[in-house]
């Protein structure tokens, strides 16, 4: 059963004469990692600021964790967020910053702080002044502050900006762990589309203040013809054997190529099934869809309208 964590209905926002968002409709369900994609100034941060009430809502309705109106504040206490850049007291240590946040949320015990420090990989920096951290460590502290109250919903605005490649990989793993171990629903925006593709389960494309498309990762992969590409002179037999082996998302491309539309499918296992079934496999390749290509094509299409 899908449980909506965030429901946005007909939300619009204007800054003076500038229309920042227009009639946004969006639902994020429990367990989603929703990747929000758009160019600079598209309205991603504005949308996140509206959700967190850092920007006053002018038009439309936002329901957060089932709460709206006067109860919205209570729902806010169940979310964590990094909007624009992580904010903390630079002259205090990492642990002191977390302690302040814990007190604000009525949380006690140093165990929670220790757990959070370990989770974001800052245990060794607990007594370092926050202002002396590297950019990547600051992002980790921001994430630590956001996850300290063990939120049900996490909002991350460009959280991997400035991270080195190793930091990006670790950050990705952190997000996946949060989603899988703590069932945290995540709304994330980033310009690094390859990363967004790796972590997200759903995508929303925002362009000039309009949410132009939403789709699941499976739908994106299908549109991009992603999956395992098999080259064989026996396409019909291969399709029959794989269908019997419960690989139902199959696409015959031509008389030499067959695509298994599942990015999680194991090429070695598929190869074994086919060879066992007497099918000669010439080549087998993992074909990954490019979110960047899809986004570029989508923008081109929008531009042509």
């Amino acid at each position: 059963m899908t449980i909506p964590v965030l429901e946005i209905k007909q939300v619009s926002k204007k800054f003076g004469h500038y229309q920042a968002l227009t009639d946004i409709d969006l639902t994020i369900n429990r367990g989603d990692i929703f990747g929000l994609i758009g160019e600079n100034g598209a309205g991603k941060t504005t949308l996140m600021r509206l959700i967190t009430q850092l920007s006053p809502l002018q038009q439309g309705q936002i329901t957060l964790l089932g709460e709206t109106g006067s109860h919205y504040q209570q729902a806010l206490s169940r979310i964590g967020a990094i909007i624009e850049s992580p904010a903390f007291f630079k002259k205090l240590t990492v642990a002191e910053n977390l302690k302040i946040f814990a007190i604000q949320h009525g949380l006690s015990g140093s165990q929670l702080i220790d757990q959070t420090l370990a989770f974001v990989g800052l245990a060794e920096k607990a007594n370092t002044r926050a202002g002396r951290l590297s950019l990547g460590q600051k992002q980790r502290l921001g994430l630590g502050l956001a996850i300290l109250p063990q939120p049900d919903f996490l909002i991350l605005d460009e959280p991997i900006n400035g991270l080195d490649p190793a930091g990006i990989i670790e950050f990705r793993q952190l997000l996946k762990r949060l989603n899988q171990e703590r069932q945290t629903t995540i709304l994330i925006s980033s310009h690094i589309l390859t990363e967004l593709y790796q972590v997200s389960t759903r995508f929303g494309f925002i362009h000039h203040g309009h949410l132009i498309q939403q789709l699941t990762k499976a739908a994106l992969d299908e549109a991009n013809q992603s999956g395992v590409l098999i080259t064989t002179p026996m396409v019909a037999s291969a399709a029959r054997i794989l269908d019997q082996a419960a690989y139902t998302a199959l696409q015959v491309i031509d008389d030499q190529h067959l695509l298994v539309q599942a990015t999680a499918a194991d090429p070695a296992k598929i190869n074994q099934i086919l060879v066992s079934g007497g099918v000669a496999v010439t080549a087998i390749n993992q074909r990954t869809g490019s979110l960047e290509q899809y986004y570029t094509a989508l923008l081109r299409k929008e531009g042509g309208k």
Binding site: S55, Q73, L76
Partner: protein
């Protein structure tokens, strides 16, 4: 709101500026009391100042002298204003705060109350140091001890309250402009500005906004000679305007 106040006190306990302020308060109070020197920012000298200069000092004289010097505290405690509320805006940590369970009104009230509790503590240290210093250097009480202690309590409460009203004006300006500089400069120039405008324009109603002057009057004159209602009424009205105004401003801002 209580959690926010607790968080602010935790933060102050881990900020060396807080300890420096306490230390400077003790040194300043002990020095002016022991040395019989009355320092302060006054547009006109008072009768009390002359009386103090020409009389033998008692512990009460020391407390009265401390009151005349209390205008200096406004500048000395600007650092506390910056620590409690200025940092929130200069380092954008209010974003974290406002995404917690706290409402805008509770946030403003928490900051105002934290400042008041800070001032109560610091002004208390200032007067108690003057009280103890007077006694240590061998001065007489100057009036019966229970009465003196009553005066001491009134002095602490009054000076802390009126400094907090001026800090409140700074709080409102900070929330509206997000500029610590504008807020701090306004706090610093307020007593001088009100006095100078009052002298230039002869607007008698301005006396209700001369908070430091009022604090000095209340703590150095006979209480019976002062019309409390308009003074306290203006200050309380201004506090309501500060809290409501700050809340409305912060609700409608792009944070």
């Amino acid at each position: 709101m209580i959690n926010q106040i607790r968080a602010d006190f935790y933060r102050q306990r881990h900020t060396w500026g807080s300890y420096l302020t306490v230390l400077l308060t003790i040194i300043f109070s002990a020095t002016i009391t022991a040395q019989r020197s009355v320092g302060g920012i006054m547009i006109n000298g008072t009768d009390l100042l002359q009386r103090l200069e020409n009389s033998k000092w008692t512990v009460l004289s020391g407390l009265q002298s401390a009151t005349l010097s209390s205008s200096v505290l406004l500048y000395g405690y600007l650092g506390i204003f910056v620590i409690v509320i200025g940092y929130e805006f200069s380092q954008s940590t209010y974003k974290n705060t406002l995404i917690s369970r706290i409402s805008r009104l509770q946030f403003v009230l928490a900051k105002f109350l934290t400042l008041f509790l800070d001032l109560l503590g610091l002004v208390g240290i200032f007067y108690i140091t003057a009280f103890l210093t007077g006694r240590i250097v061998g001065r007489a009480w100057g009036e019966p001890l229970p009465t003196l202690l009553g005066h001491l309590a009134i002095m602490i409460l009054t000076v802390a309250f009126f400094i907090n009203v001026i800090f409140g004006i700074g709080l409102l300006l900070l929330v509206v402009t997000h500029s610590t500089v504008i807020a701090a400069v306004t706090i610093a120039v307020w007593p001088l500005l009100v006095s100078l405008i009052g002298m230039t324009t002869q607007w008698s109603w301005l006396k209700y906004f001369d908070f430091m002057g009022t604090a000095q009057q209340i703590t150095t004159q006979s209480l019976a000679t002062i019309k409390f209602a308009p003074i306290i009424g203006t200050s309380l009205g201004l506090i309501v305007v500060i809290i409501v105004g700050s809340t409305i401003a912060i609700r409608h801002q792009e944070l």
